[in-house]
Symmetry: C2
Subunit: 301 residues, 2 copies
């Protein structure tokens, strides 16, 4: 799983900082998560093969999380895209996009499929053989979801020396990987667990931005491999969290600790701070494994 | 009059080229003309004091000319703007902007006044003591206007040695500047033209993008100091003008020549061309005074 941060600052785009957008490479999917103004330029800057994006997940309808979407959709049209594009986001996003396409008399050379969200409960919004995506209801000034991207458990692994010793024909290997007991060449039933190993632990990534400190989201984040959690403020501006419904680095760390995640990635920094080191310091008081998002940074889990 | 090019490329924004946006400094106004995605970053990059922008002119509702507007409006809100913002653009722009502000539950700390355009005739859309702005109907795939920004004629200039010789009291100077005949200290009527000089010739700037070759716009452009005219294509791609309703550099030069403008500025280049020199070369065959727009370039008339 590979996460590329395209932008990790709050509010307004500036010359050297971009609003929220990231690309998750998971089991051969390229998922775009949020799409602030300028995201298509960031995709080009960091050489992401963005024609491969087929699914876009929008957390909420504040501009720094979606104003770049209509531009990306238009660019896909200009580039002659034919593949479907699925957009998951709050109710209203379809109206915004279609109104602009209509008034620009845009032609549709590829299908756009909107999955509008309005549930206040976590729900499964995407699933295929290898991946599941769930929403994580958050607490912000407008309806907002985080997302958890989960690999499904893979096949069991053959313990090949045991398989050979047990005299199992090659034609049964697939069955073994799927967890079945099989018959060997001598007609004996071989127990699956004697000749196979557990699959690799499935990885998962959770994105939580924007949100106030909201422990109610913890059950949905339990044990994820990596959690990106917004940290708009440092403790010195903690008093601003209430009215803006944002979090501090410490809040993010508290969620990471309660959910027992593998790694915490901080981002969505207020542009008032000249340097970011204090975000890491303040979070590490609560939770050990903290990384700072930076525009262009790639995380591999 | 000072024109700052923020972006002068067609279609999609890229790392080193921006879509259409420019700022015209005229008689203490800062007029923003078109507002492609990323315009607010370009305003910061080129250190334009963008809180001074009170009037935005949008030519048409293709994304490369207006997708940056909602972001700029939102940033003005975040920066605590209180001054009115006037937006002149095709019918539909109000619905697009208000829908996005509504769904983002944005608060209004400053008034936005929409002036929606739908006339197919040239019309006066802005006027104060010093400046007039007219639309220039163009020919494109959607309803599109160019704009002409005109200084009004200034006061007549005193020919001070003649004024003294004619024994005119200082209290009459303002009347003289306004063109009136006045009485001198001896009770004689002094003819205005004997003691004043013509005012400086008022300057004017015309913006024409996007458009097919459209000689019908020439009457509105007659004698302007500078004309920015789109030149999406070189002659080698002239065949693409018909379906896209764009112009070549040669087309732009033909309009400049027919309208007898002072200077032609080319822009809105297709991103297919690695260099721009040929645009100037092809235009100069028809019209002599040709300049190439470049992102960040400032023209002073």
């Amino acid at each position: 799983m590979e996460l590329t941060i395209l932008g990790c600052y709050s509010a307004t785009p500036r010359v050297n900082t971009s609003p929220t957008a990231q690309v998750l490479n998971i089991k051969n999917h390229l998922f775009l998560i949020d799409c602030g103004e300028g995201t298509q330029v960031q995709l080009r800057r960091y050489k992401v093969k963005f024609s491969r994006i087929k699914h876009v997940f929008i957390s909420h309808l504040h501009g720094d999380h979606y104003f770049g979407l209509i531009g990306l959709i238009s660019t896909f049209m200009l580039l002659g895209r034919e593949a479907e594009l699925h957009i998951y986001g709050p109710k209203g996003i379809k109206e915004i996009i279609l109104l602009q396409l209509k008034l620009g008399k845009a032609w549709f050379n590829y299908p756009i499929i909107f999955h509008e969200l309005e549930s206040k409960e976590s729900e499964l919004i995407f699933e295929d053989e290898k991946v599941e995506v769930y929403t994580v209801p958050l607490k912000h000034r407008v309806y907002t979801n985080g997302f958890v991207f989960k690999e499904k458990p893979g096949d069991r692994k053959l313990n090949i020396s045991e398989v050979v010793k047990a005299k199992i024909d090659v034609s049964y290997y697939q069955k073994l990987k799927q967890g079945f007991d099989v018959e060997n060449e001598e007609g004996l039933i071989i127990s699956n667990k004697e000749v196979t190993l557990d699959p690799n632990k499935p990885k998962s990534y959770a994105f939580c931005s924007d949100t106030a400190y909201y422990p109610e989201c913890v059950p949905h984040l339990k044990g994820v491999t990596a959690l990106y959690h917004e940290s708009t403020f440092l403790n010195e501006h903690k008093h601003m969290c209430k009215s803006t419904r944002h979090s501090t680095a410490e809040h993010a760390a508290m969620i990471a600790k309660e959910a027992n995640v593998g790694q915490l990635i901080l981002g969505h920094y207020s542009t008032r701070y000249a340097t970011l080191d204090k975000f890491k310091e303040e979070a590490e008081v609560i939770f050990k494994n903290v990384e700072l998002a930076k525009d262009g940074k790639v995380f591999t889990f």
